[in-house]
């Protein structure tokens, strides 16, 4: 268990216009942790996939609450941990959703989780129907990725 040495939390509307912000915020936070430029590009790509999933899938219909995404970033001794959380409809079958090519939309690849798993050292997904979904990704500078 690594000690938490720094953290930041940001909540934003679940709209496509915030994707670039989320990517840059995560990469900026991780920039001082020993990652290469290529590593930071990988972090941006993984965050983009996770936040896109929230925007596309978590809030399919009009609801009373304002759809938001909570991104929590932690710098641990030798890791960068980022979690992306929504309060949306949840995922009925997380194991199925993580399989390559599984999508609810024919216009999309269904490769978001596959990319996250290829880019991060560890991906953990917790979801509850009607409550929301939390994706946590761990990146290490020396992963050699």
């Amino acid at each position: 268990m690594h000690a938490k040495v720094n953290h930041a939390k940001v909540e934003f509307d679940a709209i496509p216009g915030n994707l670039g912000f989320a990517r840059v915020a995560a990469a900026s936070f991780a920039a001082g942790l020993g990652f290469t430029v290529e590593d930071l590009e990988d972090i941006k790509l993984a965050v983009s996939e996770a936040v896109s999933n929230c925007i596309i899938h978590a809030y399919p219909g009009p609801g009373e609450a304002r759809p938001t995404v909570l991104m929590v970033m932690e710098a641990r001794e030798s890791e960068f941990v980022v979690s992306i959380e929504d309060k949306g409809i949840g995922i009925a079958d997380v194991a199925m959703a993580r399989k390559p090519g599984v999508t609810t939309d024919s216009e999309r690849l269904g490769m978001g989780f596959t990319l996250m798993e290829a880019l991060a050292d560890q991906v953990d997904v917790k979801s509850e129907l009607g409550v929301g979904t939390r994706v946590e990704m761990i990146f290490s500078p020396e992963r050699g990725g």
Binding site: G20, E38, D42, L45, S52, L109, L115
Partner: protein
């Protein structure tokens, strides 16, 4: 940002910027419009050296246009992808489906070679 020109039998499309969910629908609409307005071209070459970022939303559009060109007997190729774009393309196995060339010159030369072969 998208710019385009016709070179020989190819429609060369220069793409710049970030291709994610924010602009995927617009990207798709513009490419489809370009493809539909050039029924005579056999090949679409997407130049991606000025693509600063692409994720699976953007790559999904590429696969869709690849299928669209295949349906009319044509092809789609990618030329000079930026390092970030190449990383994302590799991770999603794009080069096994869509031809990826290091340079536009190579992509155009390959296209000319195809035409030479089909004339024999």
């Amino acid at each position: 940002m998208i710019e385009w020109e016709v070179s020989g039998n190819s429609l060369v499309v220069e793409i710049a910027g970030e291709l994610d969910l924010t602009c995927a629908d617009e990207f798709r609409r513009v490419l489809d419009s370009l493809i539909d307005s050039h029924p005579g071209v056999a090949r679409v070459i997407l130049c991606m050296d000025r693509v600063a970022f692409i994720d699976s939303s953007g790559i999904g559009v590429l696969f869709g246009r690849h299928r669209r060109m295949a349906l009319r007997g044509g092809t789609l190729a990618i030329a000079s992808p930026s390092p970030q774009a190449m990383r994302a393309l590799d991770l999603l196995g794009v080069p096994s489906v869509i031809h990826v060339y290091d340079t536009l010159k190579q992509a155009l030369a390959a296209e000319a070679e195809v035409r030479k072969c089909t004339r024999k």
